[in-house]
Symmetry: C2
């Protein structure tokens, strides 16, 4: 991770809030790497955010890396088994 690298965690806000976070992070003008991190259902949102950002707002934004993985989450209240949740990281560079 370099100094010019930002991580944006994708949750359940509307995609445009995260797109705005990307635009803000890039507004300094210096080349920058941005990584979107998402888990479970938010994975779809992460893909939407990356696509909206590079198609509509930041034309020279390039997706440099996409990684998928799994994390073990503690059981929900009232449950006893821990759950496996898929994760995704999308790294983009301008």
């Amino acid at each position: 991770m370099t100094e010019n690298a930002d991580v944006i965690f994708i949750g359940n806000k509307p995609p445009m809030s995260y797109v705005l976070a990307i635009i803000t992070a890039l507004s300094s003008g210096t080349p920058k790497e941005i990584t979107l991190k998402a888990r479970g259902q938010a994975i779809t949102t992460a893909v939407d955010v990356a696509e909206i950002a590079r198609n509509r707002f930041v034309k020279d934004l390039k997706v440099t890396k996409i990684a998928i993985g799994t994390v073990e989450m503690p059981p929900r209240e009232g449950e006893t088994k821990s759950r496996m949740v898929s994760t995704m990281e999308i790294t983009m560079k301008k």
Copy 2:
């Protein structure tokens, strides 16, 4: 696309149906490339399927490529605007 390449379209069935499709496709024993294609909410399912398949069933399955994109879908009934939908392709090789 080579002869030993299969495409599995991910929809809204439970992830295990698609995992089973992967196992079946690989059962011939010859090296093979499998691409999972998904759109919209099914993107999360595609990641789940890839992770379940390689962590639990086919240990030597490697993710070789992940691509994201956007397609324009015709408007739903009663709507006039076409919608942009995110897509994802996960290519795996054994």
